[in-house]
Structure formats: C-alpha cells, structure tokens
C-alpha cells in the first residue's frame, strides 16, 4: 500500500512538474529536430585532438551531406595529415532499413563495408561517437525517453535543461550512454552544452557548442568542444567555409567517388 501511494505520488508529481514548463520535453525535442539545417551542405572541418599531456594532433577534413527525403547521405575525407589524406568515410543514414557505412583507406585501395551497429564507438579517434556525429545536434526519439529537468537562464540566454535516457539497457550498451543532460537554447533550439554519462552512470564527457552564427540564414555551430573526463582527452571541431547553397552532386556519395585521390 505504501509503495502504491509512493508511485502515485511520483506520477502526480511528475505530471504537475511537466505542466509547470512552457513546453513539454517531446515538444522541445521536436523543435530541435525540426530546426533548419539545409538540404545539403559542404564544409571544412578542422579536428584538434589534445591528449592528457597536452599533446595536440590536427586533422583537416572536408565533408558533404545531402538529404534524400528523410534519408541522409554524408561523406567525409581527410585532407591532412598528409599521411591519412584521401581516407574517406561514407554513410547512408536510412530511416527504414539499417544504416550503411563504407570506409576507404588509400593504403588498401579498398572500400570496406563496415558495421553500422557500432554507434557508440569513437569517431576516427575523437571524443565524439559515431552516433554523435551522425545526429549533428539532432536527438533520436526512437532511442531516448525525455524529461525537462528545469528551465534556467545564464548569461542572458534561456535554456530548457533536457534529460535524455536510453529506452532500454540494450540501447545504453549500444550508445555507450546512460544519460545525456542538454542545455537547449530556447531561442534557436540548439544545445549549447551537454553532459554525457557512461553506461554505469559516471560522468563521461561534456560538449560545448560555441560560435553559433547564421550562415545562409541557418543557425550553424562553428566550434564544438568535447571533453572526455575519464581519459582527459579533448576534441575541438572547427567548422569553416560552410556552404548550404553549393550544389552537392549525387555522385559525391558513390564508392567510385570515395576512391578518388584527394
């Protein structure tokens, strides 16, 4: 009886709590996901990787992305370091069927099919996971349950503080996160900060999205910083030459194109 009462109190409390906020959690997530990010985009990405001793490595890439209805194709190529130049990673993000991924290593001259199930793996040695990169600040409604923890204001910016929890244990393992807490800017519906917790609930990493400005009338993040609290590694992503208007040909997303020298 005591337990039933406790459960009821919690449910009522949560319901009342939700209604206290201007928007409910799913509405916020919907707004984040509906945010305009262009039919296609070409951009340079400089990846600055800093280890716990302060040793810095820089990778420069160019990436192309294009929507095909609800599906999305993207490809990223290394420009530097020259040792890795030409390495390409092609991804088809499919709404209905499984995602498809191919990796081209110039040293092998082979386009290798890779599993897309490794969503929680680190993306090319950075502190971002493949899933972080794929979602590009969007939030998966099929992977997470949501609730708004609070509405807050900091340095003149109002935020929804959103907690995202994987729907089940399998997803926790697959994504590598037990919880993500995001600070969503109420005006532009972009997370300016997110804290990721590992599978056991421990603090894993913190994302800061900085230098957010409009390009071709689309709000665009130009600097992402991901700090891994466990291995003290930091990844800074700097986007430049962002162009939403440049034509991105379908042939950019073919295996023949992936194999071209860069």
């Amino acid at each position: 009886m005591k337990n039933i009462l406790k459960t009821l109190t919690t449910i009522v409390g949560l319901s009342l709590g939700s209604s206290l906020f201007a928007m409910d959690a799913l509405e916020v997530v919907k707004k984040v996901n509906e945010r305009e990010d262009g039919l296609s985009v070409v951009r340079d990405l400089k990846m600055e990787l800093i280890d716990k001793r302060g040793k810095q490595r820089v990778r420069e890439t160019i990436s192309y992305r294009k929507y095909y209805g609800v599906d999305k194709k993207s490809v990223i190529y290394y420009k530097t370091p020259k040792r890795l130049s030409g390495t390409g990673f092609l991804t088809f993000d499919n709404e209905i069927k499984d995602d498809e991924q191919w990796l081209y290593l110039p040293s092998l001259r082979k386009v290798r099919r890779v599993s897309s199930a490794n969503r929680g793996d680190w993306f090319l040695g950075t502190d971002f996971s493949y899933e972080d990169i794929k979602k590009e600040t969007k939030i998966s409604t099929s992977d997470f349950d949501f609730r708004i923890l609070e509405e807050t204001q900091e340095k003149g910016i109002s935020y929804f503080v959103l907690e995202s929890t994987p729907k089940n244990k399998a997803l926790v393992k697959e994504l590598g996160y037990s919880k993500i807490v995001s600070w969503i800017d109420k005006d532009i519906f972009i997370a300016r900060k997110a804290i990721f917790h590992d599978e056991r609930g421990g603090l894993l990493k913190t994302l800061l999205n900085n230098d957010i400005k409009k390009v071709d009338d689309i709000w665009t993040i130009h600097h992402l910083q991901m700090k891994n609290h466990q291995n003290k590694h930091v990844s800074n992503f700097y986007f430049s030459n962002v162009d939403y208007k440049k034509e991105v040909k379908d042939s950019s997303f073919t295996k023949a194109s992936l194999k071209r020298r860069r």
Binding site: R57, R83, D98, E100, R109, R113, S115, A117, G125, S251
Partner: protein
C-alpha cells in the same frame, strides 16, 4: 602543330589548376629470424612523391613516383631486368640496389555520372584480406613474396577505365593494354620460389635450363578487358565480374632430355576467362562477405600430362565474416577454397585447396596506437604465416612500427618454404 596544341592545352591546364603534393619518406629494416646467412635482410630508404593537379572538382591529374634504395640488396638483385614488365612500364634500375618507378600517372574526369580514368594506375577489385580472388586486374611483385602491402606490391598498369553510377548500382569497364605480368623473384634471391606447387620437380641429378619466355606483347591483341557491375539490393551489395585476361603467372612447360639429363623450362603466359560474383551484407555487429568465381582455362603443373601442364577450369570462393562487436576492434575470419574442376590426377597442388585467415585489428589511445595480427594458414600443407604488427603515431605526420613475419609449416608448402625468411621489421615513416 597537333603536338604544339596538346602541349599548350597541358600548360593551360596546369595554370588553371590547384595542386597538392605529398612526399613520404620511409626507412625500413628487416632482420632474419632464423636464417643461417647474414641477419640483415633489407634496409631500405623509400621516397614516394605524389602530385595531384585539380583543374576543377571534376578533372584531375595524378602523378606518383617511388625511389627506393636498399643498403643490403639481398631481396631480389636485378629484379627490374625481369622480362615480365612491358617496355613502357618497367621501373628504372639504379645499379643493383635501387630503382625509380613511375607508380601512377593518370587523368580522370567526371562527365555526367561517369568517371573516366586514363593512364598508369592501380585498379582494385575485391575486398578479401591477405588473399586475392577477384583482385586480378593488376599483377603483383613477389620479390618479397606477399609481405609488402598490396598497395606497394601491386604493379600499376597503363589502362583506361570508366565507372558509371546509376541510382543504386555502378558499372565499371576497364581496358588494359599493358602486357606487364607478375614479377617472380630470380632463382637464388631471398624469396625465390622453391615449392613444388610452383616449380616443376626434375629428375635427380638433372640440370635445368630456363628458356626465353613466350610473352604477349601486342597492346591491342593481348590486352585484358574487365567489366564489373555492382548493385545494392536492400542492405546487400552484390557484384558481378567478368575478366578476359592473361594469368599473371607464367606457365612452366617442361621437357626432359634423357640424353643430356636436362630439363628445359619454357615459361609461357596463357589466356583465361574469369566469371565472378561478390556479396556484402551487414547485420548488427557483423559484415558477411563472399567472393566467388570460375576461371575458365587455367593452366596447372601436372606430372602426368604432356610437357607437365594440364588445362582445367577452377572454381574458388572466399567466405568472410567481420565482427565489430568490441569497441575500436575488428575481428575477421575468412575461409578460402579452390577446386580444380577436372577428373585428371597428377596436379602439383591439391585438387581442393583450403586456406583460412584470421585478422585482429585494434586502435588504442584515440587512434595513436594500432595493433594488428594477420594469420594465413593453408589447411592442406599445414603451413602459413602469422604477422603481428604494432604502430605508434609519433605526431600527425610520423609513424614508427615494428612487426614480425613468422612463416611456419611444411618446407614444400607455399608459406613453409620461407621458414628461414621469417623476419622482424621495424620502420619509421614521415610525410611532408
């Protein structure tokens, strides 16, 4: 006048373009593990220069050259005197210990959905690790057997290709007029073949005479042609291949003269047809791969046949499974079978030849440390090679590595014959 116009067009191309260049220097030393001879197997300095000239997003010229000198020169002295190269593809020998090679020089251009390429280049089909079944377009330099990467040992050829992309498929057509074939190490060099799988056995006490090679040399009549069609069926990638080609390894016709107790070997290149297919399917943490094909009119050493050679068809397949279930890790297993489709007996290789491979790869410390182990094991001869390797990225453009290539098993096996060539290799690579 025509030449002048071509020259002016080329100059205009250069001026209207952007270029990027890369110089990679590599010092690599290999030390024999078990040899009775001198321990040092090779100590090379390799300089690879690459120039890409982009006229626009769709047109590009690529140039790649390699200069290599070996302080030891034990691997394959005078290898570029090899008759297996066509006259316009042969690297330039620098004494007996070095060479300068034009690795690639080609022009490529997209016209609508078709990518055209013309020039000297590598063309790669198939995806198998450490084994070649569909990857038949370019011959291989066997001067260090299969130890260098395929990228390094694959011999680029003058060719013309086109790849046309359709909505869910692509069609590749390739024409190879270059009559260059596999470089087989000279007798007496470090990795010279001795296995009876490749070298015909001679009666005891007889001497062997190698006759001049009967090699195709007509660019049109003797050219190779290949067609590949790749399509996506739901989550499965399906490929179909056809190749009309000369086998890259010559056939050694042999004649025994009992009067002089001499065996004469006559190397000759023979034509074949290859019909192949491939499948790639990804599900969960697994990627399943199949490559299979029939080679029509393949020539084998056969003790019971006239001149020691028997023609047969061959069916071969590779089944591979890649597992990505562990973070930053790839575990891959492949099983390869090759069947001689003939009732005749007396072949120098098993009529069903079975090979398996195992590959482990793992990246550590945010992709700065790379560990890899490749095992290739022939189940018939119970021989093989195991190749652990560890690399460390010193900085973005520098890498050091250490590896061990351990041959084992039957001394008459394809791998076991090199038991004494097992080696430690360490190297340093710097890119500018």
């Amino acid at each position: 006048m025509k030449t002048l116009l071509i020259f002016l067009s080329f100059v205009a191309f250069l001026f209207a373009s952007e270029s990027s260049q890369t110089l990679k220097l590599r010092q690599e030393t290999s030390v024999n593990h078990e040899s009775d001879d001198s321990k040092l197997q090779k100590s090379i300095l390799n300089a690879n220069y690459e120039l890409n000239i982009d006229y626009d997003d769709e047109s590009r010229v690529v140039l790649e050259t390699t200069l290599e000198v070996d302080a030891k020169d034990k691997i394959n002295p005078n290898k570029y005197n090899s008759s297996s190269y066509s006259s316009f593809s042969k690297p330039l020998s620098l004494g007996t210990s070095g060479y300068l090679e034009l690795r690639e020089l080609y022009f490529e251009k997209y016209i609508d959905d078709t990518l055209f390429k013309m020039g000297k280049m590598q063309n790669v089909w198939g995806k198998a690790d450490g084994l070649k079944l569909i990857d038949k377009l370019n011959p291989q330099d066997y001067s260090q057997f299969i130890l260098p990467s395929f990228e390094e040992s694959r011999i680029p050829l003058w060719s013309i290709s086109s790849v046309t992309n359709f909505e869910n498929s692509e069609l590749e057509i390739i024409w190879i007029p270059d009559t260059t074939y596999a470089n087989i190490p000279n007798s007496g060099s470090e990795y010279a073949f001795t296995t009876s799988r490749i070298i015909p056995s001679a009666p005891q006490g007889s001497s062997t005479v190698m006759e001049d090679v009967d090699k195709p040399n007509h660019a049109v009549k003797d050219s190779d042609i290949g067609i590949k069609y790749l399509m996506m069926l739901d989550n499965m990638e399906v490929g179909f291949y056809y190749l009309y080609f000369y086998e890259d390894n010559s056939v050694l016709y042999n004649t025994y003269d009992s009067g002089t107790n001499t065996v004469s070997l006559k190397p000759k290149y023979e034509r074949s047809h290859f019909y192949g297919m491939s499948l790639d399917y990804a599900k969960g943490d697994f990627v399943y791969r199949v490559e299979a094909g029939v080679t029509k009119d393949k020539y084998y050493l056969n003790n019971l046949s006239i001149r020691g050679i028997q023609k047969s068809n061959e069916f071969a397949y590779i089944f591979g499974v890649d597992w990505y279930g562990l973070s930053e890790t790839l575990l891959s297993f492949q099983f390869n079978q090759a069947y001689i489709l003939s009732d005749k007996e007396g072949y120098n290789i098993p009529k069903v030849d079975n090979t398996m491979t195992f590959l482990f790869k793992r990246d550590f410390m945010n992709d700065t440390v790379f560990a890899e182990v490749l095992l290739i094991h022939n189940l018939n001869d119970k021989d093989g090679i195991i190749r652990p390797k560890l690399s460390y990225e010193l900085d973005a453009e520098s890498l050091i590595y250490i590896g061990f290539d351990k041959f084992y098993g039957d001394k008459d096996g394809l791998y076991g014959e090199f038991n004494k060539q097992s080696r430690f290799t360490f190297g340093y690579e710097k890119t500018f």
